[in-house]
């Protein structure tokens, strides 16, 4: 018992927020990687920027809440909320610094070399360009602007969360008293942030930011005033949506209410341009009630997410990776009976290397199949015009029993979810709006089909959401099976989600929040036992985040017992490697590549009787304790080998992998003298090679005479 306590020492753990910032740093490093095409690098800058926004709105906001509430408990690394905020502030500033120096010093000059200009100061415009811009302002921008002045009768207006604004100091023309007034105008989000303007050079392209167009013409908004100065700024508000579910009579209504309230949250970050006028800043500071340490002076355009638009601009294909087309899954021929394919054996899907179409097809075919009795599915973060939703609605109209669990608590997507949830309900689906107190994060789809020899259940289990657009960007694993044991469990899962009592036993699936944590600990303990008996013992696992104290402590214990542990953790990792006597046998690598690593694999050696699981859960307290998650075993030998290959290739990656060093730093692998392995690229190639060769259509073609119809 004493020993177990030892593994819980705060110094053995990394704070999760700081670890997250390191992850964002790794993403930013991709933007600094010279071997990557230029526009791809812009994309990574944009991602770090939007990541940081979400991080502030959710994590920093909740730490602020803790400080306000006087919450004194420390995290696993022994830090109080206040200490964490201070550390975050420091690291964020360094990150932002690096972000802008990358943008200003590397990317802008490189863009210039390729004939692309982003003008971020309107004073730099040529007269010809200036004329174009003014015209553009009059035609497109001016009509949608709403300037707001602040004085005794007009209080400080509500500044919307994450919106870009321009603040100006004004003085009334012919005012003897020289009284300075404050005004603000929102940069309209309905207009594109970047505007292409005529280029000075032949064949070149020039862009100007929308706020610059407004700034240049700001005088037009305040005709009776002299504009002393004008600077863009942006605020971030507390947006963590925590609903007290015990009080919420109707979850749906509550969320709709919260959505409206979110904009009123406390301001937790203010971004202003570096050269901002100090009088202007002090007015902002006072009216937004923001502390000095939460003000970020930015040396460039505020909110770099516009770079994603740059990435998507027309032309410049040579500055991007060639688009990758997800390949056909060898076992599933498009257009043919997917159920027949599944009956031949379990099928593994590896997205985005392999196409997501079979999953969409699975539901589409089920909706039309007269033998299908029921379709049940969990949906979480689904794209708005998803073909899956259309198929589910159609299935219900075709008289099938359709149950859909719609998770409304998915961060930031609520409004979107409510709309299509209601659409499904109208079509006659039985829609379950999540469970009180638990987020349903599991990804499972069940089709019940009446066949000649009785009812057969087809199940799709996955590590990623049923979202056909993210399936092109996130790496995920999925499995089709018609195993009776898993089918029974799948039915039980949906019964449980519909509010019936949990089943007495589970055959194969392991379900959080009740059983998953225990199972993981048991699996780790078993490896410890094998190691202690002198047998080979290892754990190889891949996930997005690792920050659960109990699991980490168990891993430390296992490492100490001699279990070899190799982890691929993309994001947060609170585990520290290389602590003498604690974690010497653990390696952690993080792969940040063109696709977002999202799959979860848990591979236990179990003295040769290997067990491989996949699932929707990370090793995070929220996944293990507050969510409905499903972990499923991969039992088919062929599939096990496929998953092993995925895991081994990722562990062998030396191009995109960052290795966690004993000091807590992530470093790329020294590639000298090694065969280069880029796991994501390798998977792309392998997926292409695996597609069955198309037989020559002309030789194969046989015209089949139609049979007389009885």
């Amino acid at each position: 018992m004493e020993k177990e306590k030892d593994f819980l020492k705060p110094e053995y753990y990394e704070n999760r927020e700081l670890s997250w910032l390191k992850f964002n740093q790794r993403v930013l490093n991709e933007a600094r990687d010279k071997s990557i095409p230029l526009l791809e690098r812009l994309k990574f800058v944009s991602i770090t920027s939007s990541n940081l926004d979400e991080f502030f709105m959710v994590r920093v906001a909740s730490l602020k809440d803790m400080v306000h509430a006087g919450y004194k408990k420390t995290d696993i690394a022994g830090m109080t909320a206040q200490e964490q905020l201070e550390a975050i502030n420091k690291d964020t500033r360094a990150l932002v610094e690096l972000q802008y120096s990358t943008y200003n010093r590397s990317l802008l000059p490189l863009l210039h070399n390729h004939g692309i200009e982003i003008i971020d100061v309107h004073e730099d415009l040529t007269p010809q360009q200036a004329e174009y811009v003014d015209h553009y302002f009059q035609e497109n921008v001016y009509p949608v602007l709403t300037p707001m002045a602040v004085d005794a009768s007009r209080p400080f207006p509500l500044i919307r969360n994450k919106s870009l604004n321009i603040a100006a100091l004004l003085m009334k023309k012919e005012d003897k008293k020289e009284e300075i007034e404050f005004a603000t105008v929102q940069v309209p989000s309905v207009l594109p942030r970047i505007v292409q303007i005529p280029s000075g050079t032949e064949g070149g392209r020039t862009f100007l930011l929308l706020e610059q167009i407004i700034e240049r013409n700001i005088q037009q908004l305040f005709l009776n005033y002299n504009v002393l100065c004008a600077y863009p700024y942006r605020i971030m508000r507390n947006a963590d949506l925590s609903i007290d579910e015990d009080e919420a009579e109707d979850l749906l209504q509550e969320i709709q209410k919260q959505l409206k309230k979110r904009q009123w949250g406390e301001v937790i970050r203010l971004e202003v341009e570096e050269k901002v006028d100090s009088r202007l800043l002090s007015i902002l500071k006072q009216d937004l009630h923001i502390a000095q340490e939460d003000i970020y002076k930015i040396g460039g355009p505020i909110d770099l997410t516009f770079l994603m638009k740059m990435y998507g601009m027309e032309g410049g294909d040579e500055l991007r990776y060639a688009p990758y087309k997800p390949q056909q899954v060898p076992q599933i021929t498009p257009g043919e009976d997917i159920f027949a394919a599944i009956r031949k054996g379990d099928i593994l899907l590896h997205h985005p290397y392999q196409t997501f179409d079979p999953v969409v097809d699975f539901i589409r075919q089920a909706a039309k199949d007269p033998d299908v009795l029921a379709i049940k599915q969990t949906l979480y973060r689904v794209s708005g015009n998803s073909p899956i939703i259309a198929s589910l609605a159609q299935a219900a109209e075709n008289g099938k029993q359709v149950s859909v669990l719609v998770e409304l608590k998915a961060r930031f997507d609520e409004e979107n979810n409510i709309v299509w949830a209601q659409k499904l309900e109208k079509a006659g689906c039985h829609v379950i709006y999540g469970l009180v107190g638990l987020k349903t994060h599991s990804k499972i789809a069940l089709v019940v089909r009446r066949e000649e020899d009785g009812i057969r259940r087809y199940v799709h289990l996955g590590t990623g959401n049923y979202n056909d657009s993210t399936a092109k960007l996130y790496t995920d694993l999925g499995m089709f099976t018609c195993s009776e044991a898993i089918g029974e469990d799948a039915t039980a899962v949906f019964n449980m989600l519909s509010g019936y009592s949990e089943p007495l036993t589970w055959n194969k699936l392991v379900v959080a929040p009740i059983w998953l944590r225990k199972r993981f600990l048991k699996l780790i303990k078993r490896e410890i036992k094998h190691a202690q008996e002198g047998k080979e013992a290892f754990i190889k696992a891949k996930m997005n985040s690792l920050c659960d104290r109990d699991i980490i402590a168990a891993l430390y214990e296992a490492s100490k017992a001699g279990v070899k542990i190799d982890l691929v953790v993309r994001g947060i990792c609170c585990l520290k490697t290389g602590i003498a006597g604690v974690s010497e046998n653990i390696t952690v690598c993080s792969i940040v590549g063109n696709f977002l690593e999202h799959s979860r694999i848990f591979w236990f050696h179990n003295d040769g009787q290997e067990e491989i699981y996949m699932g929707s859960a990370d090793w995070m307290p929220r996944n293990l304790d507050r969510r409905v998650e499903i972990m499923f075993p991969v039992e088919d030998e062929v599939l096990m080998d496929q998953v092993r290959h995925v895991m081994e290739t990722q562990l062998a990656d030396n191009t995109k992998a960052n290795i966690l060093q004993p000091g807590g730093r992530y470093e790329k692998i020294d590639k000298r003298g090694k065969r280069l392995v880029n796991s994501q690229e390798q998977f792309c190639e392998e997926a292409k090679a695996a597609v069955p060769k198309k037989a020559n259509v002309y030789q194969e073609r046989v015209f089949i005479p139609a049979e007389p119809v009885n």
Binding site: L373, Q401, I455, S498, G499, W515
Partner: protein, 510 residues
């Protein structure tokens, strides 16, 4: 091959459940779905005597959902049973009506004995069961309001006792004092011990019991942790008790956590632990077996068996006969005379098959009536008919419904007493049953009369139908004046019922 999709619904005292099955002739019944919804109907039923409208509302809602699940599977047919508490509450009829109107489900309120038989059937579908009862076993079925203990010896049921002690009832009985005592579990134990003590003294003395078979709620969860089991799935009692003793001292919350129960403050968990513990201790068996079946399984077995889709290994009729014999022996009324009446009446029944239109089941009831027809003498020699009736009505015979028990008891009663007109019995049975009673009585009377002296003077009794006459051929070497004389007194009653004249044909044997 035709597959029948069947739904079994059971409304219990604290749970409403439904199982969907696929029945394929000649194959094992396959469970397709199982949904359970916790609904504490018993709480209202046992404490207030009426089920409140909120609960009725919830019940209808759950059943409506069940209905839609059934529709989803396109089930061919279903059976829905409700526990006895719907009969005991004053608004039971209206609840059934509500269910019928709102969910289109026809719910049968099963009597206690029927329910127990259903779960018994589900258990008997397992091959391990046959082996265990061959070696001596006690089956304990714990319900919300009561429990039933059946003792098996050499493969057949010896006795069945119904004890008004269920998990919910224990909790309810002690609810007033729960907060006044520090050792709640001791109070539970005392309550249980009192009831078990009598059973043990009456039935368990000198019995060698190898297995105790436990059925009921929570028991499945309790034995889930045992990975090491016997080949037949049984667990050594010692290990089982060790576990229960450990829990015994814990708080309900801790137990709930160990059992992975959803409701951490489940008030019923402690009574269950104490009850199972005491039962196992008192039965003193070597092994505990938890078959892990529910009434829903019994419902489907019963349906499939009645529709000739499956056949049981176990002969339930033998249980009924054996239990009846045991009952007769208990009241010292089993004799040569009983055997004689049994064989004569059976012979008459078989000979008359074409005329009486009754089937196997009524034949069994006749046999039970024959076996038990004298049991009342134990209480009173003059008023034995009424006493026999009372004894039969107060005894559980596993496999017999309440109505069947009434038929047997009435057959015995009117064997000697004049049969009243239907109108005065209509509160006890329907018309068809009344006719059955009349027929059985007529046969029993004749069979009884033929051994009036209780000396088994007739041998090789044979019966055959010839036109409008029933010829009963006998062999005898003794004076049969008494029998023959009295026989004619019953001829009329027989004729009245069957329009057949019974005649004795005597073969003298020297």
């Amino acid at each position: 091959m035709k597959i029948t999709t069947f739904a079994a619904i059971y409304i219990g005292s604290y749970e409403v459940s439904m199982k969907v099955f696929e029945i394929r002739p000649g194959r094992k019944i396959r469970q397709v779905d199982y949904v359970r919804s916790r609904l504490e109907l018993g709480l209202d039923a046992y404490s207030k005597g009426v089920i409140g409208y909120e609960l009725v509302e919830d019940l209808c809602q759950v059943l409506k959902e069940f209905r839609s699940i059934m529709d989803g599977y396109k089930v061919d047919t279903y059976k829905a049973y409700a526990g006895n508490m719907l009969r005991t509450v004053s608004n039971g009829l209206f609840i059934l009506e509500q269910i019928r109107i709102r969910t289109k489900l026809e719910v049968t309120v099963a009597s206690n004995s029927e329910l127990r038989f259903l779960s018994y059937e589900s258990m008997a579908a397992s091959p391990a069961f046959e082996k265990m009862i061959g070696q001596g076993a006690v089956v304990v079925e714990v319900g919300g309001g009561s429990m039933q203990i059946t003792l098996f010896r050499k493969g057949t049921a010896v006795t069945t006792q119904h004890i008004e002690l269920g998990i919910m009832r224990i909790w309810e009985k002690l609810s007033k004092i729960r907060n006044m005592v520090s050792h709640y579990e001791t109070q539970i134990q005392e309550l249980i011990d009192k009831e078990l003590e009598i059973f043990k003294r009456l039935y368990l003395e000198g019995q060698d019991i190898k297995y105790v078979i436990l059925m009921g709620d929570y028991i499945g969860e309790m034995v889930k942790g045992f990975s090491k089991k016997q080949g037949d799935g049984a667990i050594e009692s010692e290990r089982f008790l060790k576990l229960l003793n450990k829990w015994h001292k814990k708080s309900p919350k801790d137990i709930a956590v160990e059992l992975n129960l959803v409701n951490e403050n489940d008030p019923l968990i402690l009574p269950s632990v104490v009850l199972y513990k005491r039962l196992t201790e008192e039965m003193n068996a070597d092994f505990v077996w938890v078959p892990g079946v529910s009434i829903d399984d019994g419902i489907v077995c019963d349906y499939a068996q009645k529709n000739h889709m499956i056949r049981f290994l176990h002969d339930f009729d033998q249980d009924i006969l054996a239990a009846s014999k045991n009952l007769a022996e208990r009241y010292q009324s089993y004799s040569g005379h009983t055997d004689s009446v049994l064989s004569t009446s059976t012979a008459i029944f078989d000979a008359m098959k074409k005329v009486h239109g009754m089937d196997k089941r009524e034949r069994l009831l006749l046999q039970v009536a024959a076996i038990l027809h004298d049991c009342g003498r134990y209480v009173s020699l003059t008023n034995q008919f009424v006493c026999s009736y009372q004894i039969i009505m107060a005894s559980e015979i596993i496999g017999m419904t309440d109505l069947e028990r009434e038929i047997v008891a009435s057959t015995v009663k009117y064997n000697s007493l004049p049969r009243p007109p239907y109108e005065s019995l209509r509160d006890k049975m329907d018309k068809d049953s009344y006719v059955v009673v009349s027929k059985l009585t007529a046969i029993l009377k004749i069979a009884n009369a033929m051994d009036r002296s209780h000396k088994q003077k007739f041998e090789n009794i044979k019966a055959s139908l010839r036109g409008k006459e029933l010829i009963i051929t006998i062999e005898t070497k003794e004076n049969t004046v008494l029998e023959k004389g009295l026989f004619s007194a019953y001829v009329e009653a027989f004729e009245e019922v069957f329009s057949i004249m019974p005649k004795i044909k005597e073969k003298r044997v020297f």
